[in-house]
């Protein structure tokens, strides 16, 4: 591989990291509260609002069942409205966020639903408000599951970010297609794949490590 490709690979890696980081952040800001609400608003639950729960559930399912590449193209006018342009790395953050938010919402909903109902009852018996139950019981208790869910979301977004090249987003995926496929440079394709494997591996390991730091459920031998 010629030396002048290395800056290109490096730049593409940074672009991918930028897109994934921003869309994870924004997706969590939208999907986090949405997930908490979905987990607590069925009939008879803490924030009981069955109609809104059903409607939001349908919206989330619709967003999740749309293939990502179609989503990217379908929301181009919306992307232009938000980002000022529909082309480029920053613009790609819009569809990535819109794909990430419902996914993260479902992952966080699942993590929160894993929390033992007995803990909610105990907190209610203490006179906790629904807000206190969410902040002091549900989120801290679900934290290991939430971290693992976000890890999964980041890994999926690394994959999605490779597709935004189709609408002028840059990054590793775009580089792999343009150089590796269209210009017949298999070594670039290989480098891109290796970098992606390393990235995913790093994200997965970090996520698992952080989750285990939050997880106090397993007994540990600390000695006496």
């Amino acid at each position: 591989m010629s030396a002048n490709l290395i800056p290109i690979l490096w730049e593409a890696t940074l672009q991918t990291l930028y897109m994934v980081a921003m869309s994870t952040l924004l997706g969590t800001l939208i999907g986090g509260p949405l997930g908490v609400f979905l987990a607590t608003s069925r009939r008879g639950e803490l924030l009981s609002a069955p109609w809104l729960n059903t409607v939001l559930g349908l919206v989330v399912n619709a967003a999740r069942s749309t293939p990502f590449i179609i989503l990217v193209v379908a929301i181009i006018p919306f992307t232009r409205m938000i980002a000022g342009t529909s082309i480029g790395t920053t613009a790609a953050i819009v569809p990535l966020t819109i794909a990430a938010a419902p996914f993260i919402a479902r992952l966080i909903e699942t993590a929160i639903r894993e929390v033992d109902a007995g803990l909610i009852e105990a907190a209610r018996a203490m006179g906790a408000t629904p807000g206190q139950i969410v902040r002091k019981v549900l989120i801290p208790e679900a934290m290991p599951g939430i971290i693992l869910g976000l890890t999964l979301a980041v890994v999926s977004l690394i994959g999605y970010s490779a597709m935004v090249g189709a609408v002028g987003g840059e990054g590793l995926g775009d580089l792999g297609i343009r150089y590796g496929y269209q210009r017949f440079m298999p070594e670039v394709m290989l480098a891109v794949v290796v970098i992606l494997i390393v990235l995913v591996q790093l994200v997965q390991s970090c996520g698992e490590w952080i989750a285990s730091r939050f997880d106090k459920r397993a007994p540990r031998n600390r000695g006496q």
């Binding site: 033992d116 907190a123 203490m126 906790a128 801290p140």
Partner: protein
């Protein structure tokens, strides 16, 4: 009589069923729980005891009737008023319900945080409670590192954090082994004595009632079938459910070799009647059987027996064989002297 701590006044709880008749979980419950006492509600699973207990802190609401706790109508309270009442009522659970993400002292601090107690006052209060339940050495451990008994101690300390006047116990010892059960019950007793706390507990184990409850209510299919001081209910159980709960708890069962040959009616001249004799109160320690033999010449054949303490009063239970021919006379003699007798069957 002093004002009761908790008063159930005609409480009924119905659960509406889709397209059918309602399920009645509780039916017209009238029950006063005395201030500063330990009261047990005993019943089988599904009898409604859990629903009844949860009405005291508004986790369940009556369909009709009133639940009065410390002069507040809990059944009618909502929002802030209900949360204020809940902070005056502590609760402990069968499965402890501790937060896995919090240490012992952080778990104990939770109700204080929820009540909005000044952050500077939380740590000393949590430390005091941790010491009260004997877990100072474990204060920074997580629930996963504790035994069942230790977890329940954390539950108790947590329930006491906001200084409640009433403690509710939902089968608190049902998941524990006998030794640990005894220790937890002793702790509850000590708290009741030292803090004058009213304790209302539900259980399906008569042994728990025997060991710590001064008052008991027996619940069956959503109705209270018997209620009173534990000693009276144990010594003179009036309802079949109470009797079945008492089997195996108050002392004695008919030994297997006798039970195998028992009949409903005597056969032959030398048949023996198998009689359960209950000694209560002042007579529990009198040598009545010796007197029956000495004064009436009736031979008594002891088959099984035990004397135990219920509410610090002696309570004896014996199963004996008496000559069937002299049964009526012997029964009259024993009853005359304040003992309770019941014929279980005949042998021989």
């Amino acid at each position: 009589m002093a004002e009761p701590a908790i008063s159930f006044q005609g409480v009924t709880r119905r659960y509406p069923q889709k397209g059918g008749s309602d399920v009645v979980a509780l039916h017209d419950i009238w029950l006063d729980v005395p201030q500063g006492a330990i009261t047990g509600i005993i019943g089988r699973s599904g009898a409604g005891k859990s629903t009844l207990l949860r009405m005291v802190n508004g986790l369940e609401r009556p369909s009709s009737g009133k639940v009065i706790v410390n002069d507040h109508d809990v059944g009618a309270a909502t929002g802030t008023a209900l949360r204020r009442v809940r902070r005056e009522v502590g609760m402990i659970f069968q499965h402890f319900n501790l937060l896995a993400s919090r240490t012992v002292s952080e778990n104990i601090a939770l109700p204080l945080e929820i009540a909005g107690v000044d952050a500077a006052k939380i740590a000393p209060r949590a430390a005091e409670l941790t010491e009260r339940v004997g877990l100072t050495a474990q204060a920074n451990r997580y629930p996963a590192e504790l035994s069942g008994g230790q977890k329940q101690r954390v539950g108790i300390a947590r329930a006491l954090a906001t200084g409640p006047r009433v403690l509710l116990s939902d089968e608190a010892t049902s998941a524990l082994d006998p030794d640990t059960t005894r220790q937890v019950l002793e702790l509850l007793q000590a708290i009741n004595r030292d803090l004058g706390l009213t304790i209302l507990l539900i259980t399906h184990e008569m042994a728990v009632v025997r060991d710590i409850c001064s008052h008991v209510a027996v619940i069956e299919a959503g109705r209270i079938v018997e209620t009173g001081e534990t000693y009276d209910v144990f010594s003179k159980p009036a309802h079949a459910t109470t009797r079945s709960f008492l089997t195996g708890v108050t002392g004695v069962a008919v030994p297997q070799f006798v039970a195998g040959q028992m009949r409903e009616a005597p056969q032959g001249a030398d048949a023996q009647a198998v009689v359960q004799i209950t000694f209560i109160g002042a007579h529990a320690t009198d040598p009545m059987l010796a007197r029956l033999t000495a004064e009436r010449g009736v031979g008594v054949n002891i088959l099984a027996g035990a004397i135990e303490e219920i509410g610090a009063r002696p309570f004896g239970s014996l199963i004996v064989g008496l000559p069937a021919a002299r049964l009526d006379e012997s029964q009259a003699f024993l009853e005359e002297h304040g003992l309770l007798t019941e014929v279980l069957g005949y042998v021989g």
